[in-house]
Amino acid sequence: MIPFDVLVAICLLYVALLFGVAFLAERRAAMGLGGWLRSPAIYTLSLSVYCTAWTFYGAVGYAARSGLEFVTIYLGPTLVFIGWWWTLRKLVRIGRTQRITSIADLISSRYGKSNALGVVVTLIAVVGTTPYIALQLQSVTLSFAVFAPGGAVPWAIRDLNSSALTVAAGLAVFTILFGTRNLDANERHHGVVTAIAVEAVVKLVALLAVGIFVVWGIGGGVTATLDRIETSPLAGMPIQPGRWIGLTFLSAAAILTLPRMFQVLVVENEDERHLATASWAFPAYLMLMSLFVVPIAVVGLAEMPPGANPDLFVLTLPLAHGQDGLATLAFLGGFSSATSMVIVAAIALSTMVSNHIVMPVFLKLTATGATMSGDVRKIVLRARRVSIGGVLLLGYLYYRLSGGSEALAAIGLISFAGVAQFLPALLGGILWRGATRAGAITGLTLGFAVWAYTLFLPSFGQGGVMGAALLAEGPWGIGWLRPQGLFGMDGLDPLVHAMVFSMGANVLGFVTVSLASFPNPMERLQAAQFVNVFDHSAPGQGWSQGRAEAEDLLLMAQRILGPDEAQGLFQRAAADQGKQGFLPDITPEFLQRLERELAGSVGAATAHAMVSQIVGRSAVSVEDLMKVADETAQMMEYSSQLEAKSEELARTARQLREANEKLTELSVQKDAFLSQISHELRTPMTSIRAFSEILMAGDGMGPGEMRNYSRIIHEESLRLTRLLDDLLDLSVLENGQVSLNAQEVALPDLIDRALAATVGLQGGLAIRRDPAAERVRLMTDGDRLSQVFINLISNAHKYCDASAPELTIRVREGRDGVAVDFVDNGSGIPEKSQAIIFEKFSRLSDHRKAGGAGLGLAICREIMARLGGSIVYLPGQGGAAFRVSLPRARAQAA
């Protein structure tokens, strides 16, 4: 029997060795050396973290108690690795393309980066893993106790509880030192993985050595051992099909959902091609691990005294035969199994806790945004260290609460059933696009609650957390709610019972709520990314691609920046790295610099996406795509602004064209107007000039003619003056330069004034009025209004062709204002001319009768417009009829 102190020393030496291995591996990885460190063999060995102390010690105990049923624990993973190889590949691909850091990250990321889901998964993982960690503590504690026989209790083993605490603390320190030495961006731990591979070899060698010793050293060879098995109680143990199926399912689920398995399988995966090797090598490893389980159990049952713990046969059999060296090796194998599990599980859980619980809370509290400063890194590391301690403390508490007496296998299965709750959300997430966040949360919560109620809480034993009465009769005496007999399902094994109900509730909740709920856009995008991961990501690429990548990057940069600038950038970068004349190394600094340069041309998101695609280690993520989409949207926004501008330009051009057409038209009108004025001026001038020349010559003229010609000259000069007056008046009116002199006037006075002014013209024109109706007072410019009246009266005088010309002036007060009608008894204005009489120079008859230039009515129209009223021709009144209207506001009853 080796002394306990020596054993502890060996343990510490072994730990130091592991440290050394891990340290060297990290060093070589950092230097980019050591390809063998990333070989499929290391990957496969690291997967052996599945084989914990439970497998190492517990499998024998399990076989001794239940026969061949222990095989199910190996059967599930084997089936997954051989038959569901493609699922693993998909998980690994998703893990790489989405930079997944844990199973909580994967599930929350799949369902629209839901933080709530991350928290739920983290909590379930912590609770679910706790029994498993307790199991490791228990086995290490028990194995220590084996070396401390009866009387000589060494310093560390006064009682099992305190030694379990010591073990837990030791493992915590060990894990913190291993797992949080630095903060790796992609959460890969090369050193840890290598150390675990070493441990995998140690535990396999140890178990095989014990097996060989048992078969050949004690059992007397293969044939004899087989005979022993034939006659042992194991051969007679019944096989329970329900448990077999259930356990195989649980272990198959566990290989995918255990946080530590996800860590080594997905997160630590370097190259998805390693899976090809692992798919046969890992089942082979499991087979070797299980090879000697039954012989050891059978021989142990036969050789060891009754009551000896079959979980410890691996240790006690060699010890009983004085094989101290072998026992020590077996002890190291068990120690390896326990530590590797605790280290990886604690690292995985602490990553989840810090990423999904501590960091969101911290960022919310500090509200500084995700600036990855040194401070934040320190906080992350501290959070991880504290959560590693917390996880182990929980494990210890569970160990204490559950009484520490349960068989190892039973505890492990509780964990399996707990983390199996992730399976629907995980598989649904990568296979079914219709799976939604609400469905995942519902399924997980239901499944977890049922698991806790039916398996986890009862595992503390009667009087633990649940009272004996509750276990026996259900809460409040409701029989069908008994934790281990829901809905009266009493016949079932408690584990199978819990599994059926928790998984049933989980799957049912997940599917129904997924079908009933509607995913948000982010969920849809992520769903597409996950489910169709093979459609838009390249398979894993090796490491020795630096050159090719640099060339590709240069080609791409040239396309975007132009050859000179791109080459200059690469040359400067190479010079900075001390590599003048060569392509620069693809360092993160260089990539950042390149991205910045490219971002200036194509936008940050696009630049990142392009660089990522070439560098290839990370495919384009949904965020990248969404940023690209954002930039595209901005560009579209910009181009639609441009479009709007060009539309505006087109509109302006159209307006300009219209204005130009109007100006041209105005210019034509102006020419016509000038031509009209010219005609109107030249005509009287012609007469004046001709007759003045005649008079100047003075010969051949009688006195009558002389007088007549002088009169013509006089008349024509008056006509000229009138024309000029009218033109000026019209010009002033049209330009709006006229100043109105509004005052209260009596309508009859205005009409009297107009009649008086035209009295010389009236001749035979009879005027008919109705003085009673005329009694209206107006607020208007009386001079201007009477000018309109004068015009109308003189027109009647000039153009009324009746034999007894007569002009009727009628005044009518309406609701809207006052109307003054001037109606004569002549033949009126022909219908075709009615439309143009208010235009300038629209004189209808010949000059002989008309004294004016045809501007009168045009002037009237302008005046009425200025006064706020109107003048219109009234057709069908017998003779020529004009209506002058003034609005109410300007008219007041007298």
């Binding site: 030249r682 001038m685 012609t686 004046i688 001709a690 007759f691 020349e693 010559a697």
Partner: protein
């Protein structure tokens, strides 16, 4: 060659002035003031020269000129056009359409007389 003028003009005072100037020099002056019937009057009167205003009621002087020039029976009939519009394009139009001479109003009496003499060779 006789001394017979047909004056087509609608402004009474101008008719009177031209009639006085020409008749004093021994010309026989017929007058017509309506555009629509002016061409018929020309063919009926067969004057030695036509003095034609552009702005006439009913029909423009240019239209009447076109009819006169289209009528081979009136070949060589001198037409003196008068216009009060006095724009360059009117002058060009008149000359293109075959006016013998184009005079803007107001005119000089002696110029009118001289033009009539010149055009008729009298």
């Amino acid at each position: 060659m006789g001394k017979h003028v047909l004056l087509i003009e609608d402004e009474p005072n101008i008719i009177e002035a031209i009639r006085f100037i020409l008749s004093r020099e021994g010309w026989r002056v017929d007058t017509h003031s309506d555009g629509t019937t002016a061409y018929d009057r020309v063919t009926a009167v067969r004057p030695d020269i036509v003095i034609l205003d552009v702005m006439l009621p009913g029909r423009s002087g240019f239209d009447i000129l076109r009819d006169i020039r289209a009528d081979t029976g009136l070949n060589g009939l001198p037409v003196l056009m008068l216009t009060a519009k006095g724009q360059v394009k009117d002058r060009e139009m008149a000359e293109r359409m075959g006016a013998s001479r184009f005079m803007a109003k107001p005119f000089s009496n002696t110029e009118v007389l001289a033009s009539v003499r010149e055009l008729t060779g009298a």
